[in-house]
């Protein structure tokens, strides 16, 4: 799972009280306000934090910027520094009671702990800087302006091995096995409804939250991965049930497969047998994509 997805899922989990995570932020009343918002600061210049969380209880808002690389962007930091409470209320739609005080927090990787603070220190900004360490998040520069929030973040212990993954399950960098894991149940759901066709973009909408809001090129990258896993399924594990319809794409504008045989709409006893068989096939498909040494399965000519 990418750095971005891990942090998004972590903060969503913590702010929603998901089991197995620290409860400090939740108990301070922090909830997720918005993801991937773009708005302008007091200089009318655009800022786009990855995530905003806020607490009515302690009147505190935190805007997060995460950095998977080693460097910060001087101009970006300057733009963040010019955000005011008025901007948050008028343009980011926070209620005033939640953003009396706000912080911009930058989170990076442990391996970049020496480089990330440089731009922030040089610019004289007081943004807290945190890095992802083996057992959680460590604040390495500055602190939050509200003592309770600062205490919650100061060595925030997280078991990264049991992180939530479901709020944002995949992105364009996710592995094919992850797409297989999510896509096949949706294909079968379509079959159970009696749909004659399976469309890649419909599967995408169900797997990837906020699909409709993504740029077409990004949707295309996701769609390619969905296509790769359903293609393999249609050639091997689910070849009795699915067949790629290359011609239909001209009309549907997305990779399309026809449902040929559909035991999921037949008699009850046969249905149960079919579900059982498909569970084995689904497991085999995920295992195939998990295998790093797998032999690529290419379509035969004319297939």
């Amino acid at each position: 799972m990418s750095f971005n997805l891990r942090l998004l899922n972590l903060f969503f989990g913590m702010c929603k009280g998901a089991g197995g995570l620290p409860r400090g932020l939740y108990e301070l009343g922090f909830r997720v306000e918005t993801v991937e918002i773009r708005f302008t600061n007091s200089d009318r210049r655009t800022v786009a934090p990855e995530l905003i969380i806020a607490s009515e209880q302690i009147h505190h808002t935190v805007l997060f910027e995460w950095k998977s690389g080693a460097n910060t962007d001087t101009d970006q930091l300057q733009r963040y520094s010019r955000i005011t409470t008025e901007d948050l209320v008028a343009k980011a739609y926070l209620t005033r009671g939640k953003c009396t005080i706000h912080d911009i927090a930058v989170i990076g990787k442990d391996e970049h702990r020496d480089r990330i603070p440089i731009g922030i220190e040089e610019g004289g900004y007081d943004f807290p800087v945190l890095v992802v360490v083996a057992d959680g998040l460590e604040t390495i520069l500055n602190g939050f302006h509200v003592a309770e929030t600062d205490a919650a973040f100061r060595r925030l212990t997280v078991n990264w091995d049991t992180l939530p993954t479901t709020f944002f399950p995949v992105d364009a960098d996710s592995e094919l096995w992850e797409f297989a894991e999510h896509a096949i149940p949706l294909v079968l759901q379509e079959m159970q409804k009696g749909s004659p066709r399976v469309l890649a973009n419909e599967i995408g909408k169900d797997i990837v939250p906020l699909w409709e809001t993504m740029r077409p090129d990004y949707q295309g990258r996701l769609e390619n991965k969905i296509e790769a896993v359903i293609d393999r399924a249609a050639r091997r594990e689910f070849s009795n049930y699915l067949h790629k319809n290359e011609r239909a794409k001209a009309r549907t504008h997305t990779p399309t497969w026809d449902v040929m045989e559909n035991p999921l709409v037949g008699a009850a006893d046969k249905r149960l047998k079919a579900w059982k068989a498909m569970l084995k096939q689904h497991k085999a498909l995920v295992e195939y994509f998990k295998d790093e040494h797998r032999q690529e399965d290419l379509p035969l000519r004319g297939e």
């Binding site: 998901a18 918002i37 939530p164 993954t165 479901t166 894991e181 759901q189 159970q192 409804k193 939250p209």
Partner: protein
């Protein structure tokens, strides 16, 4: 319909009183709580659903059924034969999702037919009453008895021959006023706390005791939504049934409202841009002791078979951490699980059914761990 059921109920009670037992073929009034999902829910849609479920499509070739409409909208009667079983059901679908099916047919036949109908039809499910809800039911009248039913063999992730093996199964029935005392004793930590699962309560309930002391119902309320009535008053029975089902339905609908994950783009007033919000939260399920063998546990729960009806391939995300993107075969909706030996997070997608949670939790109580808890992010227990 009410008159007929009142007659049968009081007749059976008189028999019981006079002979102290029912003749083998005499039938008590039974009410089954059934949850139905229909894309549309007009009177005709529900008739069609019943036709499919009780017809050969649902019960198979060795069956025959007739659906009769009554004078009232959303009330039907169903005559059905399947193999050697025959039964008649009176269907009250006045709440188009949470139905009541009454029957005075032989219990074994009615149970068998309904079990098969529900197993085979993806629109229907029973209500699943966890033991906390059964205890609330016990408080709706005089608590007169109980049944316990715990069977760990359904999810066999341990060696039952091992010296420190947990309880394999524990079943008990107890009638009388001291039921609660026995229940409390069994639940003590040194007794059978993680294997004492309430499966049935017997409760004596009056519609209005102050007005008429002699008009009452003595009902056995089971965890699978079957309620068997004795007593003298059908209105008292219906009053109890309605109270139980209303409590249950509110829970199920509340789960869908509060917990389903919804991703929404809200348009900003002064811009062409949107900002994005996510509502909903996971359910937190915690076990009273760690899952002994994750693979065996997952294979049992997610095989797609009864009683869990969850289908999914567990995927390992790390040591002893699994994710299952499952389908609930009741309605074939997606439901995602993240599972460690100590806890489980469960995510409902928008449009999925809250009954899935009630079924999962209730079955975990009966087949895995009586001490399992179901909580929200806030930490409040959900039943």
């Amino acid at each position: 319909m009410a008159e007929r059921l009142q007659q049968v109920m009081s007749h059976a009670y008189t028999d019981l009183e006079e002979r102290q037992q029912l003749e083998a073929e005499t039938s008590l009034l039974k009410t089954y709580l059934v949850e139905a999902h229909s894309e549309n829910s007009t009177h005709g849609d529900i008739r069609a659903l019943l036709r499919g479920a009780f017809g050969q499509e649902g019960l198979g070739e060795r069956s025959e059924s007739h659906i009769h409409e009554t004078e009232e909208e959303f009330f039907y009667s169903v005559d059905v034969k399947w193999a050697t079983n025959s039964a008649e059901f009176y269907v009250d679908a006045s709440d188009q999702r949470f139905w009541l099916l009454h029957s005075v047919s032989k219990s074994t036949a009615a149970d068998r037919i309904l079990q098969r109908v529900i197993a085979n039809d993806s629109h229907l499910d029973t209500a699943w009453l966890p033991m906390q809800l059964l205890e609330q039911v016990a408080a709706m009248g005089l608590f007169r008895g109980l049944g316990l039913d715990f069977d760990r063999r359904e999810v066999p992730d341990v060696d039952f021959e091992a010296p420190d093996a947990p309880v394999e199964y524990l079943k008990m029935q107890l009638w009388g006023n001291r039921a609660r005392e026995v229940l409390n004793t069994l639940r003590e930590t040194h007794a059978f706390a993680d294997a004492t699962t309430l499966s049935k309560v017997r409760v004596k309930h009056w519609l209005d005791r102050a007005v008429d002391q002699d008009s009452f119902t003595l009902d056995d309320v089971k965890w699978d939504g079957k309620i068997t009535a004795r007593g003298t008053s059908f209105p008292s029975h219906i009053n109890l049934v309605t109270s139980v089902y209303r409590t249950y339905a509110e829970k199920v609908k509340g789960f869908e409202e509060r917990f389903s994950l919804r991703y929404e783009a809200a348009q900003m007033a002064n811009a062409r841009r949107s900002h994005y919000t996510v509502s909903g939260e996971p359910f937190n399920i915690t076990f009273s002791r760690p899952i002994a063998d994750m693979e065996k546990f997952l294979d049992s729960v997610f095989s797609g078979a009864e009683p869990f009806r969850l289908w999914g391939a567990p995927v390992s995300l790390g040591r002893n951490y699994f994710r299952v993107t499952a389908l609930d075969l009741h309605v074939t909706h997606r439901i995602t699980f993240e599972i460690t030996p100590d806890f489980m997070r469960v995510y409902l997608v928008d449009g999925s059914c809250g009954n899935s949670i009630a079924r999962l939790y209730t079955n975990l109580q009966h087949y895995y761990d009586s001490g399992v808890t179901l909580k929200s992010g806030e930490g409040d227990t959900l039943f």
